[in-house]
């Protein structure tokens, strides 16, 4: 069956460190993968999109990698700040639709 899995446990890190979140998938062949941020009580907000022929994408303090052989994406936030605390969702393109992973809650402590 098709699955998109993210770390179910919350990730707690200290301010200034790099946060790394993982997204693993099975039985998908996505043309692209996306990452979203969701704050409590709000809708998800788009962060980054990476295509299957791209290994890495950067935007300010964010970096995404996409390994289609491992069927995995890594999402990095460098120099993390308490304001980065949120739930981060990966999403795969599947026949013109986006299917979301389970999400990982990130907590950055001062």
């Amino acid at each position: 069956s098709q699955k998109i899995e993210q770390n179910s446990e919350a990730l707690n890190i200290q301010e200034g460190k790099t946060a790394t979140l993982t997204c693993n998938y099975t039985n998908y062949s996505p043309a692209y993968l996306q990452w979203y941020r969701q704050d409590p009580g709000r809708g998800p907000v788009f962060l980054l999109l990476i295509r299957e022929n791209e290994k890495e994408k950067r935007k300010e303090r964010l970096k995404v990698t996409f390994d289609t052989t491992l069927k995995q994406s890594l999402f990095h936030i460098t120099a993390s700040q308490p304001a980065d605390s949120a739930t981060y969702l990966c999403a795969l393109e599947a026949t013109d639709k986006l299917i979301f992973g389970t999400g990982t809650r990130l907590q950055v402590f001062p």
Binding site: Y32, Q34, G43, P44, V45, F46, L49, A91, L98, T102
Partner: protein
């Protein structure tokens, strides 16, 4: 980018009633989607709202329970019919941008008593 407005933002409903959620986009978009997010869970796709034709539903969701309208390229509605407490959830409208990203509304939090 697109700005999406949803209403109501929240509602408390009685079992057996129906509620219609409205979604307005500030620009014309080709694709709109409705998702459900149950407490502490991720997003589950309900259906793709097709302009001028019937919505395309995902497995586990049916038109009789979740009728969807999309009369034009900027507006869609989702109705939750004959509600039960299991329908208590956040319902999110989204629209696809030019490069494939989704823009979301703030969601409609529905509580069924």
């Amino acid at each position: 980018s697109a700005v999406i407005s949803q209403k109501p933002s929240r509602d408390i409903c009685q079992r057996g009633t129906s509620l219609t959620i409205q979604c307005q986009v500030d620009s014309q978009v080709t694709m709109m989607f409705w998702y459900r997010q149950q407490p502490g869970q991720s997003l589950t796709l309900i259906a793709t709202a097709n302009q001028g034709s019937e919505a395309t539903y995902e497995s586990g969701f049916v038109i009789d329970k979740f009728p969807i309208s999309r009369p034009n390229l900027t507006f869609s509605t989702l109705t939750v019919s004959n509600m039960s407490p299991e329908d208590s959830s956040i319902y999110l409208c989204s629209a696809r941008g030019r490069t494939g990203e989704l823009f979301f509304g703030e969601g409609s939090r529905l509580t069924v008593l």
